[in-house]
Subunit: 298 residues, 2 copies
């Protein structure tokens, strides 16, 4: 495994693969890797000739009061995991490598960036869209892998990739969960044992709604209300909504096309998100990677 | 010469060159080609294995009251010129091919986009940055060629390319002029014979300032004032300033580094821009292509 920290090093490292006609898979992360990241890396290993993982805690996607400074880091463990999984190239840039003096450009995805998480984290998705576009341009991967837990992020990136004609395909990998159901997240490390127990309400509420959907409930309001009732112990429910998984628009009428139930809560100062996909045709776990953003050509 | 109108056709046409390891030069235009465009195409032909020209009158870079509807078009003449110059691929997309239903993403270059032309054309450079990034991602050229007449555009695109790590180099080609000095522009076609004569004040004023600079005048205000006095006959002087050619910031003190005198006027309803470069070390015409945007790594 090659570990590179500078952009010129990265370009040199990847040129060999590109010139050799090898396909490149890419897993961008903020580090503190867990089994969710491992699932992305395994998918990439299985589908591409070589896999690039980046570890970069991107300052521009954190707001003023957020957890940038205390975001968990463990580079040594991240390196060992990547090595064990067979990653070809690990890219660990410093912020100044990504945002040198004079940097001013940003990418906005439009209205979708202001919905759900965007309402509570102004500027977050601008930061995400900009840094991921930069990383795509640096790595020039054939495929890039993202976790379904960050559903809005994946939809925004699909939109950006399609709108800017970026030559990369995005694959969304189903959320990996603890045995009891909690979605894996680097931020779970913040939770006290008590909050860790309470957090289970999120996945329990979502799974219960999923069952009601499978049993025939199609009203988005009723399903979201069901989830909401399972979130009683939370400090704050930022949102709990049934949405179109590609546009994040709230669903008005009965669910006849793929939908998503999305939740964001705050628990003991920690912000947690989760979601489940609802597919009227039944293949919820699989359908998302086959969906294209609405409209036009590729 | 291959003429392509759809994105899939373009990707197929260019794959052959890319797979063959050939270098691709790109000249994005809004059509109604003149000798200025021809100079860009010749530069590309001389430096790259194959040249792609796009003709696309980009609606998103025109404001509400601007000349989108009447912007001059002559596709047959454009095709013939490209054929004569040896262009390999001519890309002529319809607006719906570039902006399909659902399109929402945009790129902002930050403060530079609000200076000079940006003050008078709000949103213009957002439109330019977005469409050119799209075209870069579609064509994936090694080199892209732009005319010095649109100096602010070139500086904004260099900034975007650098900030987003787009794998392309931008070359700026000196402005091509009529025998009497008027900078070539598709919009010159709008000028009445009388306004055509008056328009000469722009280049005359700029050339006079250039001479004063060569004779030792280094005060940016004095030089700009000199140009301004040559613009007496115009309906409106939108700006006439000495600026840093890479940031478009107004110059405060004496000129000790490369500078540009930039002018925008309105004449009989037609907006005209022009500029000259001032280089204290003397190689004004050449230096611009060797300049990088301020800051950091590539």
């Amino acid at each position: 495994m090659r570990i590179v920290r500078s952009i010129p090093e990265l370009r040199v490292a990847l040129k060999t693969f590109r010139d050799g006609g090898q396909s490149i898979g890419f897993v961008p992360t903020m580090g503190f890797l867990h089994e969710g990241h491992a699932a992305l890396i395994r998918q990439s290993m299985a589908r591409c000739d070589t896999t690039v993982v980046s570890v970069f805690v991107n300052p521009t996607q954190f707001g003023p009061g957020e957890d940038l400074a205390k975001y968990p880091r463990d580079l040594e463990r991240d390196q060992n995991l990547c090595l064990k999984l067979g990653v070809g190239t690990l890219f660990i840039p410093e912020p100044a490598e990504i945002y040198p003096t004079g940097f001013t450009t940003s990418i906005s995805v439009g209205p979708m960036g202001d919905l759900l998480c965007g309402m509570f984290r102004p500027g977050h998705f601008r930061g995400v869209a900009t840094v991921v576009t930069k990383l795509f341009n640096l790595v020039q991967p054939d495929l890039a892998f993202f976790g379904q837990k960050d559903l809005q992020q994946t939809s925004i990136l699909r939109r950006v990739v399609k709108d800017l004609n970026l030559p990369v395909d995005i694959l969304v990998v189903p959320t990996v969960r603890e045995a009891d159901g909690l979605a894996l997240s680097s931020r779970n490390a913040y939770l006290s044992p008590e909050h860790r127990k309470l957090a289970l309400g999120i996945s329990r509420g979502l799974f219960a709604a999923e069952r009601r959907f499978q049993e025939g409930e199609r009203d988005p309001g009723t399903l979201a209300e069901g989830v909401r009732s399972a979130l009683a112990g939370m400090d704050e429910i930022q949102y709990c909504e049934a949405v179109d998984p590609l546009t994040m628009d709230l669903l008005a009428g009965p669910i006849t096309r793929p939908a998503a139930l999305c939740v964001a809560v705050v628990l003991g100062g920690t912000r947690l998100i989760d979601n489940v996909l609802l597919s009227p045709t039944g293949e919820a776990a699989q359908f998302i990677s086959h969906l294209d953003p609405p409209g036009g050509n590729a």
